[in-house]
């Protein structure tokens, strides 16, 4: 994970060529000049891979940030304030959630002719709906807990309780969802570019895959062209989800009572 982040940050120093520059002849085999060879355009694949990590990571993390942030905010508000606010928000969520995400994204990416950020925003927005639901459920169960009553009893303001008491309690959940979200959005972003719907000016792995695929590199067995972005993506996605899965039991309340019953800690 860290390695990926590091590569993304240092990409411009590490990359030997400008990824869009034509630095060699088309379809060179891997060699000392071009570590992974070149594509049909003569662009250096190694540089593309390195710099592509940026857009891909950005896509995943930005989307996840938006969805986690917005979802948590909405969920906390709706769950904690309850009453009419809650009914309005959760009703809207219910309705909005039935809108299929991928088709909407596909349509939008065609018609918004999007920058990366816009797509991220839309994705995050859609993702925040589910997130908000989960957080709301959690907050609802939290607000019946004694410490919240106690805080209310102390006469603390709603906002104070929300920020000081509720937010820290839901944070672990948010974080886990953030990790899964990052993985999900990354794959989604790569998928969109793979369909050829991404921003043509930004190099990312999905676009690289798209080029290989539509350029016939896959069917013709040009492994040096096809495998690096594939492995990079799978590796990143795998490590993200492993991280999420191993953190989830630690942070989510779901599996808590397994042993708690015996220790009866209050």
């Amino acid at each position: 994970m860290l390695l990926y982040l590091l590569v993304a940050l240092l990409a411009s120093w590490l990359a030997p060529y400008d990824p869009l520059e034509i630095s060699g002849s088309p379809c060179e085999s891997p060699g000392p000049d071009h570590l992974f060879g070149t594509n049909d355009f003569g662009q250096d694949l190694f540089s593309m891979l390195l710099l592509g990590s940026r857009a891909t990571l950005l896509f995943g993390f930005l989307g996840a940030c938006i969805s986690a942030g917005l979802g948590t905010g909405l969920g906390v508000f709706s769950g904690f304030l309850g009453g009419r606010t809650d009914r309005v928000i959760s009703g809207t969520l219910d309705v909005l959630m039935t809108i299929p995400q991928l088709p909407l994204l596909l349509v939008l990416s065609i018609y918004l002719r999007p920058g990366l950020y816009l797509l991220c925003g839309v994705m995050g927005l859609l993702g925040s709906l589910t997130q908000a639901r989960i957080i709301r459920a959690k907050v609802l169960s939290l607000s019946t807990e004694n410490f919240v009553y106690a805080a209310k009893g102390l006469g603390l303001s709603d906002f104070h309780i929300m920020f000081r008491y509720i937010l820290p309690s839901v944070f672990p959940l948010t974080f886990v969802k953030f990790l899964f979200g990052a993985q999900h959005y990354m794959l989604l972003g790569v998928g969109l570019s793979f369909l050829g719907l991404g921003d043509p000016e930004i190099v990312d792995w999905g676009q690289m895959l798209h080029q290989v695929y539509s350029g016939g590199g896959f069917a013709l067995g040009l492994w040096n062209w096809f495998l690096p972005p594939c492995f990079a993506m799978v590796g990143l996605s795998f490590s993200l989800s492993l991280l999420g899965y191993s953190l989830e039991p630690w942070l989510s309340p779901q599996l808590r009572h397994e042993k708690q019953a015996f220790f009866e800690c209050d």
Partner: protein
């Protein structure tokens, strides 16, 4: 011969925070038809003890010592043997009765299954069900049988759970905090009920409710931080409490002035040297801090773990 004999039982759980010593060298005997109250505050290891007796702990829990049931060590039994013993011989009335019932099945269905498990034929089971429900105080057994667990009140659930455990007519009943979370009226009813149903059985009554224990039991055992600290006849314990902890508990009763014990019980992962109660003990002496006291026999079957009774 005693019905069940627990000999220097140790239960530990490995956790990342260290070894949790839930039950530490506990010795207990229980005769047939004897009613023992096991008293202690939350986290003192009462429930673990009960679950250990039925071998219901997590596979990673380590049990040492011996639990002899009619001379047979339960810790050496195979799973199949254990299964035969559970319910038939040793029955558990679990905590939180409302959560101890499968929410997707009606009470009647669960009772029926249990009766079938106890060896009744289908017809017998159907016939036996209302009888059993009536025996735990149901006035309208049919409507009880049709109800889902979430539709039952706390007292009702408790009764149903008791009925389930009685389906086998076991010789030992382990009741894990049956009065927890009930209002005083229901509490009294449940205690009376438990008294009735255990007339011919042994009962291990786990509670932090001293009064309930006093009503139901002949002997009392007090646990603190995984250890037995006092064991004796009901009258002896109530009238002549030996251990400062017992005294503290008694004084915390509403009838006796409601004076709480200061401080908290130590974490089970980092137990203090010496007496485990010393930090909260008003009568602690220097020795309490350094040396762990054994269980002293003060005569008349009254035991106490305190350096005051050397």
């Amino acid at each position: 011969m005693e019905l069940i004999e627990i000999k220097s039982l140790k239960v530990t759980f490995p956790t990342e925070a260290g070894l949790v010593r839930s039950v530490d060298c506990v010795d207990l005997q229980l005769g047939a038809r004897e009613k023992l109250g096991l008293i202690g505050e939350t986290g003192s290891g009462k429930s673990v003890l009960a679950h250990a007796t039925l071998r219901l702990l997590q596979p990673d829990a380590l049990c040492e010592g011996e639990i002899l049931y009619q001379g047979r060590n339960l810790l050496d039994c195979t799973p199949t043997e254990l299964r035969r013993l559970r319910g038939r011989e040793l029955a558990l009335i679990p905590q939180n009765p409302s959560r101890a019932l499968n929410p997707l099945q009606t009470v009647g269905k669960q009772l029926f299954e249990t009766l079938r498990q106890a060896g009744y034929s289908k017809k017998e089971a159907v016939a036996k069900m209302p009888e059993l429900l009536r025996s735990v105080g149901a006035i309208d057994p049919d409507s009880w049988a049709k109800a889902y667990p979430h539709e039952c009140s706390g007292g009702m659930c408790e009764r149903i759970v008791i009925a389930l455990s009685l389906a086998f007519s076991p010789s030992l009943l382990l009741a894990d905090e049956p009065t927890k979370g009930l209002d005083s009226l229901n509490r009294a009813r449940i205690i009376t009920l438990l008294g009735e149903v255990t007339e011919n059985r042994a009962l291990l009554f786990i509670t932090h409710d001293l009064e309930a224990a006093a009503l139901l039991c002949t002997r009392l055992a007090l646990m603190y931080a995984g250890e037995l600290v006092e064991l004796g006849d009901k009258a002896a314990v109530f009238e002549n409490p030996l251990h400062p902890y017992t005294r503290g508990l008694l004084f915390a009763l509403p009838a006796r002035g409601m004076q709480p014990i200061p401080g908290r019980s130590p974490p089970l992962t980092a137990l203090p040297d010496g007496c485990r109660f010393h930090s909260r003990c008003p009568e602690a002496i220097a020795r309490c801090r350094s040396q762990h006291p054994p269980l002293f026999d003060t005569g008349n079957g009254h035991f106490c773990r305190c350096w005051l009774y050397v």
